[in-house]
């Protein structure tokens, strides 16, 4: 690192502040909205001065939504639970399948291995809407529509390629000879994978898992089409706030705050891994 002059430091500070304000403003605004009623939100001109209320959160937690047309039942807490369940299980399954696969692709080049790896990645290129219609049909035949099992399966389209490719780059960065040195000292292939490869790729795996979690959490389309109300995650569940008698901005804001909190907390907690994991091994060759 070279040292910076005070002027450079000042300019850098200003630039950073601008970026932070630009990206944080919507989140802050939503956070403020979540403590207001619809009337104060829709005030013209808008103002940041208001009496905070916890009504929005209370409504979400009790599941009773007061609208002009009466009380409405919403299943927000259940949606939130679905989100957590679907994302956690999907990422766990993807890690279980993806990490060994990534290791295989990194270490054993065989005829067509590159093609298979690329095909798996290409699942991420395809627009989800393209596969959705045939998928819905198949799922109905197989009896998988509106099951957690089916949803988690489809979520693999999101999680698996991500984990496979990031973790593979990480494994490739580990010198094969380090593993050989361990194997030749009398350890099996599997012991080497567990004791040498996995720990060395740890930060990469954590980063990939985190990214996959965020992508899974944010998924909307698959869940919208393939799940009914009781299995829907928050992303889809939030649609319930668009009611016949208007849009419940306050509750939507509170719902957003609640639903981004887990990913935000996770990302902040694992920031170190994310930076390390994504700036090293990740996207190459």
């Amino acid at each position: 690192m070279e040292t910076m002059s005070p002027l450079e430091r000042l300019l850098r500070g200003i630039a950073l502040t601008l970026v932070v304000v630009f990206f944080m403003f919507p989140i802050v605004w939503i956070f403020l909205m979540s403590f207001q009623t619809n009337e104060t939100i829709l005030r013209i001109p808008p103002s940041v001065v208001f009496t905070p209320t916890l009504d929005n959160y209370a409504a979400l937690i009790t599941g009773k939504l007061q609208t002009a047309a009466g009380t409405l039942d919403i299943a927000f807490m259940r949606n939130l639970g679905n989100s957590v369940f679907l994302s956690v299980v999907s990422v766990a399954v993807a890690l279980l399948l993806g990490v060994p696969a990534a290791y295989a692709f990194a270490r054993h080049k065989f005829k067509g291995s590159e093609d298979i790896a690329f095909t798996l990645l290409s699942f991420r290129f395809a627009p989800p809407l393209l596969v959705l219609l045939p998928l819905t049909q198949y799922f109905q035949w197989l009896g998988l529509s509106n099951t957690y099992f089916g949803l988690i399966w489809v979520y693999q389209l999101i999680c698996l390629p991500l984990i496979l490719w990031i973790v593979r780059g990480y494994f490739e960065d580990i010198s094969a000879d380090v593993e050989y040195a361990y194997r030749i000292a009398g350890h099996s292939w599997f012991a080497t994978f567990r004791k040498i490869a996995l720990p060395l790729a740890g930060p990469g795996i954590a980063a990939a898992g985190l990214l996959a979690f965020i992508f899974a959490w944010n998924n909307f389309v698959f869940a919208l089409v393939l799940a009914s109300a009781d299995k829907q995650p928050v992303t889809v569940g939030a649609l319930a706030f668009v009611t016949a008698s208007g849009i419940q901005y306050g509750q939507i804001a509170a719902a957003i705050v609640l639903s981004i909190t887990p990913t935000l907390a996770l990302a902040l907690y694992a920031q170190r891994y994310l930076v390390e994991g994504l700036s090293l091994g990740a996207v190459k060759g």
Binding site: D177, V178, A181, R183, I184, G186, P199, L200
Partner: protein, 374 residues
């Protein structure tokens, strides 16, 4: 067969498809006896590491067989071969200290803690790395990493030790010291070792036999002395020896009592037929184009010999290297005393028949060494 530690039989290595990929090792056959130290010598990319990796089991053998202690092992996974290896790139395990790196090589042997500690201390003393045992690989120098990696291999009680350029990063003084200690260590325990090196002094000092490789082909496999005195072909002749052997293309003319070699620039080396044995004379008579080789130490100066012109005169502190323009090429000779020859001055040269190595002009195979047939 009972004292054979390692046997390679017609081993081929292709990277990529067999017969189409990179042909790194070609039909290599080699028999290493128990307790022997073998040096693998050859230019960069000649297949030394590939050979070691096939023996260790990190690379598949494309064709041929490898036996360790009488058992065919080319299809065994590394874990079942009982081979130790020091890697060209060290390959220490980053999250472990140097001590742990060396000790983990012993994990599988289920020794008691105190025995392991004792062994690690012993090997660390031998390699002069006692002071860095507690450090991590990323925080020590290349030469220290190399010694740690060598220690990790030597500490094991394997049936074969493969050492890939184990001292390449060390300064000559330390190398000379370690050379002696390592040889003693290996011989004392009766270990068998194959050592890859670019340093001929190291090969000569450590090895019972030297295997010279080039282009994936084993050129010669013999004792250091025989490799020096009786190189099997032009490659071995010029590759082994410092400074390298002088070589000149020549045509042979033989009569009843004379044998003459015609070199470029009209230079003729005339010998009495009696300078060569009968058999050598007979063989040489039937050749036309040959290559003559003379070691720089064996070149003599003589006023009535053939002449060259001095191009370089260098005093190296303990010997003089003189390079002369001779027969369209350069002839190097080594003398023990300082010389006051000026550049450009003519120099009389005599090449004794006993010092001549004659190689076939086409195949490069040795025909004769001095008065004996190759």
């Amino acid at each position: 067969m009972s004292d054979s530690a390692l046997l390679l039989k017609d081993v081929d290595k292709f990277y990529g498809p067999i017969d189409y990929g990179v042909h790194a090792v070609k039909k290599l056959s080699m028999d290493v006896r128990k307790g022997e130290i073998i040096a693998l010598l050859g230019s960069s990319g000649c297949g030394k590491t590939s050979t070691l990796r096939m023996i260790a089991g990190f690379e598949a053998v494309s064709r041929g067989k490898i036996s360790l202690g009488g058992r065919e092992i080319q299809t065994f996974p590394p874990v079942r071969r009982n081979v130790a290896m020091a890697f060209e790139g060290y390959s220490l395990y980053p999250p472990l200290t140097v001590r742990e790196n060396i000790a983990f090589a012993l994990k599988a042997s289920k020794l008691s803690h105190s025995t392991v500690d004792e062994k690690v201390a012993g090997i660390a003393k031998l390699l002069e790395i006692e002071d860095i045992l507690g450090r991590y690989p990323s925080s020590i120098s290349g030469g220290q990493q190399q010694r740690a990696s060598l220690g990790r291999a030597l500490i094991r009680d394997a049936s074969l030790h493969l050492l890939d350029e184990p001292m390449g990063q060390l300064e000559p003084q330390l190398r000379a010291v370690l050379r002696g200690r390592i040889k003693h260590y290996i011989k004392e325990r009766g270990l068998t070792a194959i050592l890859v090196t670019h340093d001929q002094t190291e090969a000569n000092a450590l090895a019972d036999r030297i295997a010279v490789m080039e282009g994936g082909v084993l050129q010669q496999f013999d004792t250091p002395q025989r490799i020096k005195e009786r190189p099997a072909n032009l490659f071995t002749g010029t590759f082994v020896g410092e400074p390298p052997m002088n070589v000149f293309e020549a045509s042979v003319t033989a009569s009843e009592n004379r044998l003459a070699f015609g070199l470029k620039d009209g230079i003729r080396l005339e010998y009495a037929a009696s300078d060569f044995s009968h058999t050598v004379r007979d063989v040489l008579k039937r050749r036309q184009r040959v290559v003559l080789g003379v070691r720089p130490y064996a070149v003599k100066r003589s006023a009535d010999g053939v002449t060259g012109r001095v191009a370089v005169n260098q005093w190296l502190g303990d010997q003089t290297h003189i390079a002369a323009d001779f027969a369209g090429g350069t002839l190097v000779l080594v003398e023990h005393d300082r010389s006051n020859l000026e550049v450009g001055q003519p120099i009389g040269i005599r090449l004794e028949p006993a010092s001549l190595h004659v190689f076939d002009g086409e195949s490069g195979m040795a025909i004769s060494h001095g008065e004996e047939l190759a």
